[in-house]
């Protein structure tokens, strides 16, 4: 395997030994950093609302955790089952979602609410159980690390208790973010990620996912249809900062 990599890279090095002036653009790579322009916004939530609407994301604001839990309860009651008769929910096991106390909020509905395994390492028994729950769930609930207003993008990373599949396999995805996690645009997002990487080189983790809207396709005569393979709907709940 190593020999093969060496031979491959030797070919690349030889190929690059010939300099070329063809394809030189007007700007050099070294000059790029100062040219990157971050958008500014006095009202990122309004920007987010506008872009979320364009992507068919159901955006709702919640004044406090209890209000957010009530919104999720309502979504759970209103959403129709797709793959299993019994409607079930699966959620991340993380600080923000724990704060919502969804177990109490959903208690009277009788709907099962599963939690992704938190204890590491995840053994085979826990993994198999999680996969069964995941397949049967109609709603997957996650938080997110960031939400980018300009593109209505959620940024999720895999950590203990936070498997990305919760945002993918169930029919409907509900994401909860704090207002303070809303960034204006992609340039700011990558600046934050770079900052994080300076503190921890593995800050991105092995799996990071950007989600902008529910699953969609236009492959049949360009007609946009939601719910191609992933969630057919995406609900985004922004928890207002206490000061607001």
């Amino acid at each position: 395997m190593t020999a093969n990599r060496e031979a491959f890279m030797a070919r690349v090095r030889t190929a690059l030994s010939a300099p070329t002036s063809h394809g030189r653009g007007a700007i050099a790579y070294a000059e790029l950093a100062p040219l990157a322009v971050a958008k500014r916004s006095d009202a990122p939530l309004e920007l987010l609302a506008e872009n979320a609407a364009a992507l068919n994301i159901q955006l709702q604001l919640a004044a406090d955790p209890a209000a957010a839990a009530a919104l999720i309860r309502r979504i759970a009651v209103e959403t129709e089952a797709e793959w299993a008769q019994q409607k079930a929910l699966v959620r991340w096991d993380d600080a923000l979602l724990n704060e919502l106390d969804l177990e109490t909020a959903l208690a009277d509905t009788g709907l099962p609410l599963y939690r992704a395994p938190l204890a590491a390492p995840v053994d085979t028994v826990a993994r198999d159980r999680f996969h069964r729950q995941l397949r049967s769930a109609v709603i997957g609930i996650t938080s997110a690390d960031y939400c980018v207003a300009d593109t209505a993008t959620l940024v999720l990373r895999n950590r203990p208790g936070q498997p990305g599949a919760v945002s993918l396999v169930p029919s409907v995805h509900v994401a909860v973010v704090r207002e303070s996690q809303v960034l204006v645009d992609f340039v700011s997002l990558y600046a934050e990620l770079a900052q994080e990487r300076r503190r921890d080189r593995e800050a991105l983790t092995g799996r990071m996912t950007f989600i902008s809207g529910p699953s969609k396709t236009g492959d049949i005569e360009l007609v946009i249809v939601h719910g191609a393979h992933g969630p057919r709907a995406l609900h985004l709940i922004v928890l207002r900062d206490p000061s607001a």
């Binding site: 890279m9 790029l32 991105l204 992933g230």
Partner: protein
Amino acid sequence: MSAIRTEAYCQAAREGMADPVLQKALSGFQHRVAPATAQRYRRHPEGPQVRQMAHAIRMHAVEHLDTLLPRLADGILARGGQVYFAADAQAAVAYGLAVARRRGVRQVVKGKSMVTEEIGLNEAFQDAGIAVVETDLGEYILQLAGETPSHIIAPAIHKTRKEVGRLFAEKLGIPYSEDPPTLTQAARAALRTQFLSADMGVSGCNLACAETGHITTVSNEGNIRMSTTLPKVHIAFMGMERVVARLADHALLFRLLSNAAAAQKMAGYISYIGGPRADFQADGPEEFHLVIVDNGRSRILADPEFREILCCIRCAACLNVCPVYGKIGGHAYGYAYSGPVGAVVTALLVGLDRAKHLFFGETLCGACKEACPVEIDLPRLLLALRHRWAEGRADDLFRGGGDRLEALVMRLWGELARRPNLYQGARHLAVAGQQMLPAEEGRITRLPPPLHGWTQARDLPRLARRRFVQRWAAEQARGEGGR
């Protein structure tokens, strides 16, 4: 798809032009997507130089592959992933098959990937008795129909909803419908079973990041996330040029890629994948393999004139504006890559002589360069290919055979041009001779063989009775007389 049908370009192009369904689909698609993409380009805060900035990022990456690829590979190895450097299509396919056999794989789910079309992965897997299911809805439709993609991003644009309805009724056993949501739901249900039971997922890679050691995949449907999350093994294939140096480079390129590919502000899903699942993870594959494919790319890299084409990010924006692609469709290009980029890349991968029709067929109108999110000078590359082919020999993939007749005509012309008397004699002969050729409104409509090809689709202006120098002198004399 690894079958090369570039020699059949002229025949396939005629068939495409004669297909009314294709004509309607192509024109509808181009009219919808191309202007919307152009509008998106104008809305970036970086201003009109945004595509030049993207060009700088890509060219820098291509010229630093010697450091970026090892960095990418080491990042993935450090997380427990495996990296294989494949010199050619055979090596890449063999590696994939070896992994599949070792893991006893029976069924594979696949996200859309151009490089796997290029190396012919599906055929090899199927020959080995392993079922491969394409999961992108467009690709899935084509696989059921036994056809190949005709567009990089919208592979099934040549299929109408009625055709898809009949196909699904036959193959999926659902009642006939021509309602896209109903048809999509049928595919969603059929493919979900596949995602949940497949042993292996195969994906491509949009733009890896060397600094952090991740590949990235981009989709709107979520099929690639499914294919790379649920099965126990994930193999990603990437052309060796599909990498950038720094994480921040993605901030610009993902915006432009989304604009260019589907006139979106941002694609639905972008995933960074840097290895197999960690032991704290409840999901994700046990094994992750990255296959970095050369397959002729180092030869392109070594050629100063053509290196620039390796900046391409396979967004298909050039297809969406190309007047030639818009008439003949993607199948005419006879290989995985179609449109202006296909005319360049295919020729460089399969050889100039086999693919000469592709680069001679484009118009050099320049629309592709304006539409390219990384501002690749496609017209320059097309011209360079024509030049290389005309001048070249047939003994090297990058050289062509040239056209003997054309070479002869050019040599005769050279001789004539150096001898004014002979030239004038030949001109007088031609002026007299052209009277015998069929003409309409003063233009020749049909040249005799072997030059008849030139007048097949256009008329030739007649040679003027009086030469320009004579007319000029006469005009001057008249002008002075009038003063």
